[in-house]
């Protein structure tokens, strides 16, 4: 039997009250691939991320992470099993310094948990990894600034830094380039490419340039259903996708 996919969704449904948002999504994300989820506004992309990362449970269906059923588990359990996500609306610790923001997501993965017996600024391994992540997201010079006063682009970079700092091998990025200028987007794409090496990446993105540049495979989500999953070239050529989405929104 082939190794289990990094992420496996089976017949996932989600309704808010009587309104179905996700209507039977089945999707395998292969370990090590960069997988983009695209679709028009309101297609349910963020809802899908919220189900997978444990923000809320699906109404029906199962989610497996590296073969383990994680359906309905709380976010911290899913994170401890090696899945980490970023948020479309920046979601950081505003009063903590940039350095501390990154450090918070390093602590659990290095097994310090709820420790009362360690002095946090004397932990070599924590410090090393925090410094390395800060260098990767190019915020070393700003590490003592409260995260709340960073510029928008810097906060987006920090958002990604917090997401990857825990060393998760399945990374979900929810519109990492939203609201960025052209040059900022280019920089962010290179950052994501560099950080996702050897990891499984699932990314929701509106910028088609980013998607076709970055993704190994693309899934198209329309009204809560995946209408196609394929390589970028074949998605571009797919008639149904063009009708449903690309033809009208491509820019």
């Amino acid at each position: 039997m082939s190794p289990s996919p990094a992420l496996q969704l089976q017949e996932v449904h989600k309704s808010f009250g009587p309104t179905p948002i996700i209507r039977g999504v089945t999707l395998d994300v292969v370990a090590g691939e960069r997988h983009a989820v695209i679709g028009p506004n309101g297609a349910g992309k963020s809802t899908l991320f919220n189900i997978v990362s444990g923000r809320f449970p699906p109404t029906r269906g199962t989610v497996r992470l590296k073969g383990t059923d994680i359906t309905g588990q709380p976010p911290f359990e899913i994170n401890r099993r090696g899945l980490s996500r970023s948020f479309q609306v920046t979601n950081i610790f505003p009063r903590l310094s940039v350095h501390e923001n990154v450090r918070c997501s390093v602590l659990w993965s290095l097994r310090y948990r709820y420790s009362l017996w360690h002095r946090v600024d004397r932990l070599r391994d924590v410090e090393d990894r925090t410094e390395r992540i800060l260098a990767q997201i190019n915020l070393s010079a700003r590490q003592d600034v409260p995260a709340g006063v960073l510029t928008y682009a810097e906060q987006r970079a920090l958002e990604i830094g917090i997401t990857i700092a825990g060393g998760a091998d399945v990374i979900l990025l929810d519109e990492p380039t939203a609201g960025m200028s052209h040059s900022e987007t280019e920089y962010a794409v290179e950052l994501i490419r560099g950080l996702s090496g050897g990891k499984t990446l699932v990314i929701v993105e509106h910028d088609m340039g980013v998607v076709f540049n970055l993704a190994d495979r693309i899934s198209v989500l329309v009204y809560g259903e995946i209408i196609a999953t394929d390589t970028p070239d074949r998605i571009r050529a797919n008639r149904a996708v063009q009708d449903a989405y690309l033809g009208t929104e491509h820019h």
Binding site: S53, R95, E100, S105, L116
Partner: protein
């Protein structure tokens, strides 16, 4: 920033740098040495001072334990005295056992308080910390009332209205310490207070302590980096309750009695006041608040029966005009002190001080007259306030009070321009000197 005042945001990065540069040991050594020699300094070697500082030490531990919840974890508790009181009760029962022959010396009694606080912190906290925010605050309020009600019903443990008493001198005497004198009690309290402050300071630098801040800022994001915010809150609550219990244990040793007022709403309110007046945004702020409020409680109540009214006014002023408390006011001036530029803002402060005093005097004159007329009408309209005899059936005391209040306020308001000018000059000069 037109008025030249530095914003809080400017000083924060500096604090961050200092924090990561590691802390120095000398302030701690200095504080320890100060606590050792204080009761022996000529002029301060009275039992009154020793007792006052003992109370301050107890209050400081209690206020810091409270701020572990409010300032560090973002949990506003309206019933924190419950853990102070329950810790105190466990300690006083421990002392009674010692009186009955249990071979434990008195200096270890605060550990009974710690155990009591921790036990009830875990027990009650496992319910209250399920939720944060307003729900948490409401639950603590309800539980506080519940425990007070229980304390009046379960008289076996709580001793009803009279409380439970014990004798700290009837115990095994370690190193010849009998604790018959206030001096020995002072040293016991100073030791435990110092140790507790050091431990609570260390707590802020543990992984759990840092995650308390993270959960305060953004509990949702904490969940997505592997932490269960409910668990973080519960652990913080338990540790906080344990230190509140230590304070309660010290209270038991100091007074040899614990009664229902130890866990009541008034004490829960007082600790909130201490933390806010001192400043919930800094670690040491609540210590400052505890010292100031304790001193006011002891001294103000000698002068006026309306002292709680003044507390209310003080609280409102701090919350409105210096929400960061006294610690924030001090932190604001540290860059100036470092640049040796305090003298540029001083004239403005002196100019503001005089009308402020007049205003306070006028206000409290009116307040005292009204308070006296309302609470003790049988004593008539002749009274002596601020060492001046007056008859308040005549208009002049009222006119004087009103005039001082209004005139003082007007002059005070005008003096702000001088304060702002001083700040402006100071910040200009610091910029010229190339300070960041």
């Amino acid at each position: 920033m037109m008025d030249g005042r530095p914003s809080a945001a400017v000083s924060v990065p500096l604090a961050g740098v200092a924090a990561r540069r590691g802390r120095r040991a000398w302030p701690w050594l200095l504080a320890a040495a100060g606590l050792c020699v204080l009761p022996l300094v000529p002029g301060l070697d009275s039992n009154f001072v020793r007792s006052l500082v003992s109370q301050m030490g107890i209050a400081a531990v209690f206020a810091l334990s409270f701020n572990m919840l409010l300032g560090q974890t973002g949990l506003l508790s309206f019933g924190h005295a419950v853990y102070f009181g329950l810790g105190g009760y466990v300690a006083i029962h421990g002392m009674r056992l010692i009186n009955a022959g249990l071979p434990i010396p008195i200096p270890l009694v605060p550990l009974f308080g710690a155990a009591g606080g921790l036990f009830f912190g875990v027990l009650i906290g496992s319910v209250t910390t399920k939720r944060a925010g307003t729900v948490f605050a409401m639950i603590t309020l309800g539980l506080g009332e519940l425990v007070v009600a229980a304390s009046l019903m379960l008289t076996r443990f709580f001793g009803g209205e009279e409380g439970i008493t014990a004798n700290r001198t009837r115990a095994p005497h370690l190193f010849g310490l009998t604790f018959a004198s206030q001096l020995e009690v002072y040293y016991l309290i100073a030791f435990w207070a110092f140790l507790s402050v050091a431990l609570m300071s260390a707590f802020t630098r543990t992984p759990l302590g840092r995650m308390c801040n993270a959960v305060r800022d953004n509990p949702e994001r904490a969940e997505f980096v592997g932490y269960n915010p409910q668990r973080v809150r519960l652990l913080a609550f338990a540790v906080s309750a344990m230190f509140a219990g230590v304070a309660g244990g010290l209270h038991a040793v100091n007074y040899e009695i614990v009664a229902a007022e130890a866990l009541g709403a008034a004490r829960s309110g007082a600790v909130l006041l201490m933390a806010f007046v001192g400043g919930i945004g800094s670690f040491f702020g609540p210590i400052l608040g505890a010292m100031v409020i304790t001193w006011l409680q002891v001294s103000l109540s000698d002068y006026t029966t309306a002292w709680q009214l003044y507390f209310g006014i003080l609280f409102i002023i701090i919350v409105l005009f210096a929400p960061g408390g006294l610690a924030w006011l001090i932190a604001l001036h540290l860059p100036l002190a470092r640049a040796r530029m305090l003298h540029t803002v001083l004239p403005g402060y002196l100019a503001a001080l005089a009308p402020a005093l007049v205003m306070v005097l006028g206000g409290s004159l009116l307040l005292e007259i009204n308070y006296r007329l309302a609470t003790k009408p049988e004593l008539g309209t002749r009274m002596s306030l601020f060492w001046v005899a007056m008859d308040v059936s005549r208009p002049w005391p009222w006119i004087a009070g009103l005039a001082m209040l209004a005139g003082g306020f007007y002059a005070f308001r005008r003096s702000w321009a001088l304060v702002a000018a001083g700040w402006h000059a100071a910040s200009e000069r610091m910029r010229e000197d190339g300070a960041p």
